[in-house]
């Protein structure tokens, strides 16, 4: 959901490492994920800056859900449940920048203590909870995936969240209330 804008200072050390590999990188090459020591003594890996590609793949679909159901009484709330210490790409600053860049029309909240994610039993991202407001108390109506095709939403033949919310809007029972999908495990604080 976020991109990393980083300038990698090509210090002598980095140049030394690169020159050890058979080829030097050119524009368009995929770089190896290096790990180096930061000035605070901690190891920083380029891999830490990768955010969840499954969530990324669903980004547009999440925005579309907000557009489709926000006005129908089902506003969307996005929560970043990842610990920024474990996943720097999920820092508050990165969230602010992503929300601006993508023009999110919904709240995008940071679950700093991860208590909300824990109490919901969220395990992976993206993980959706559809809540039904019954005179002020919110009942869980659906837990799971957005649809059954992470790769391509237009190829999904089961749109779980839409079907669930449509059922609630029509005062009908939700046929499928729980689903699973391959996702990124939430990065919990150690």
């Amino acid at each position: 959901m976020k991109r990393l804008f980083s300038i990698i200072a090509m210090s002598a050390l980095v140049v030394g490492l690169v020159s050890m590999s058979p080829m030097k990188y050119g524009v368009g090459d995929t770089v190896s994920l290096f790990t180096l020591k930061n000035v605070d003594g901690k190891m920083v890996s380029l891999a830490d800056y990768k955010t969840c590609p499954v969530s990324k793949a669903y980004n547009t679909r999440i925005m579309d859900l907000s557009k489709k159901y926000g006005s129908k009484g089902f506003p969307l709330v996005a929560i970043n449940a990842n610990s920024p210490e474990e996943s720097p790409g999920d820092s508050y600053e990165e969230m602010v920048s992503a929300a601006k860049r993508k023009k999110y029309d919904f709240p995008y909240l940071i679950d700093e203590t991860q208590d909300v994610a824990r109490s919901f039993g969220a395990t992976n991202t993206p993980h959706v909870f559809v809540l039904k407001n019954q005179s002020g108390s919110f009942k869980v109506a659906y837990i799971g995936a957005i649809d059954n095709n992470s790769r391509d939403g237009s190829a999904a033949d089961r749109k779980y969240v839409e079907t669930a919310v449509d059922a609630l809007l029509a005062n009908q029972e939700i046929a499928t209330t729980k689903t699973k999908a391959i996702g990124c495990g939430i990065k919990w604080k150690e």
Binding site: M1, K2, A47, P53, A78, I79, A122, N124, K180, I182
Partner: protein
């Protein structure tokens, strides 16, 4: 009424040639899970995009290199869930010179097979399933494993 969305996100050089990852359907994966080997089956679910998965891969590689009798290791890549092109996985396996058996699962509709791997699995990566094929006892872990944990889990099943 309200809708809520929770969203968000080592390199080991061993000599020799890398394994060639084999593309399989559910049946191919199930054959590994239900192998009647009588030994210990370790199945690790990973993807090249999953940083904690990539971090823990050397632990499985190390175990595989030890060649313990009766212990078989299979690394199941779920990259095809997001990207239909297996090339990225082939390159990754080559670059890391992975020696363990590698399967690339090519299945649609994860909701129909995740529970069949283990009902405790949410679908989050990384995940590891360890089965004692003699007793049918299982261990399932849905987190990144650290040094020594894999051996401990196997010992608990033996």
């Amino acid at each position: 009424m309200r809708l809520l969305v929770i969203s968000v996100a080592i390199i080991s050089f061993t000599p020799g040639f890398a394994q060639r990852a084999e593309i399989v359907k559910w049946k191919g994966l199930n054959n590994v899970i239900e192998s009647k080997s009588g030994g210990i089956t370790v199945v690790n679910f990973w993807a090249t995009w999953c940083a904690p998965c990539v971090k823990e891969l050397p632990l499985f590689e190390k175990l595989n290199a030890e060649g313990r009798e009766g212990v078989s290791i299979t690394l199941v890549s779920l990259d095809l869930d997001l990207d239909p092109n297996p090339e990225k996985v082939y390159k990754f396996v080559e670059r890391k010179k992975l020696q363990s058996k590698i399967l690339l699962l090519d299945e649609k509709d994860p909701n129909t097979w995740i529970d069949k791997v283990d009902p405790r699995w949410s679908g989050a990566l990384p995940a590891t399933l360890i089965i004692n094929q003699k007793t049918g006892q299982r261990k399932f872990v849905e987190k990144e494993l650290h040094e020594g944990e894999l051996e401990r889990l196997i010992a608990e099943l033996q």
